[in-house]
Symmetry: none
Subunit: 211 residues, 2 copies
Amino acid sequence: MAMSSKQKVYQGVLQEIRQYIDQQHLMPGDKLPSERELADTLQAGRSSVREALRAMELLGLIETKRGEGTFLSTYRPYQTVELLSSFILKEARTREDLYLAKKILEKEAAKLAFSRMNVQDLDKLEQLLYDPVMGPNDRHVAFFKYLFTKSENLLLARVWQLMEEFSHTINKLYYSKVFYIELVQLYSTKNYELIEPLFESLAVQDDDQFE
Amino acid sequence: MAMSSKQKVYQGVLQEIRQYIDQQHLMPGDKLPSERELADTLQAGRSSVREALRAMELLGLIETKRGEGTFLSTYRPYQTVELLSSFILKEARTREDLYLAKKILEKEAAKLAFSRMNVQDLDKLEQLLYDPVMGPNDRHVAFFKYLFTKSENLLLARVWQLMEEFSHTINKLYYSKVFYIELVQLYSTKNYELIEPLFESLAVQDDDQFE
DNA sequence: GCCGTAAAGTGGTCAGACCACCCTTAACCA
DNA sequence: TGGTTAAGGGTGGTCTGACCACTTTACGGC
């Protein structure tokens, strides 16, 4: 576990574990070797292994169950987001970056989903919009989650989800209700060319978020 | 350090440290109490404190210097994004997904950079295009790296860079030389509206990658 | 006052000891 | 035979104490 001498043990362990996951083709839900076993095979102390695992856990990469073991999880950065958001809050620069990036992804998802939209989808979207139970933010998430699913690009969806969770704790980022309605309208009237302008018309400000 | 009983100690420590930073108004570069001191005041084992600190370190929130102490670092959320994205990519990468997502980011970067382009920039880009030393792939990377810089959204740039690195291992993904030339042309003739169509005209296939 | 060395402080790491919890298994009883 | 229960072993959760390597500080001799 020596390596570049400057490398801390827990970082080495992190790499080894990642490698192990790759080599064994582990999928979410699969079990990792026990902490003691890892410590033994990697020739590291159990505390060092734990430091690596705790870091991974905080990132939402693994889940641990007392008495059972450590498992690969489907990526879910619940804790990370909360922790990081408290540090990010001040950086306006970051917020704008995030807002813009998110908007771009949402726009493209809307466009990708276009050709795959059928009547049932439109119903579902409208249903979402007029669901009295949902707040504006939940509606935004549900709405675009649906679009991302229809866009059939898992990578984009994941990246968006990550950004969504980040922005979620920092600030509420959704559009005016009119926006969603008009977008659905564009779907039903099959007006692809107007999607882009619709998004472009959104100002990059918090002010345009109203119910 | 009990709390909701389900809460692990290191998570509690994490919260306490965050609170401490807030209360003491610590700024980047400031020193945190030593691990032993934290363990003592928070009534937790040093190993638990270390698990919390290691996790924070992995997130880039703190830096540790052996023999000196632990310090708050200027927080760069992009490092985290990078780490998480690497896992997302591993899970979600499909050639088509990756190609499409990368193209989208490149398109948007091209559009964001538009209004910020001046004569020197155009020279630089043309220079890149006709550099005889570069292969088509290097040229692609250099070309868009420049555009992303001009677009001034570090987050998008990071995400793109990651995708770029991953696409290397899968396949070379670049456009025909005509494409780049036409894009520069659009910049010099200030024809914003044609950027989108130019990208749209690219087929989502490997075949359109030729010199 | 200056310099060098010892001491104290700090992160890095390991080993061992418990605890709480889960699951399997075997023994037990009806 | 079948179902229940108790025990054991495996696992993560946590703490303690012990070193090591390194940096800073303090002390003492010059």
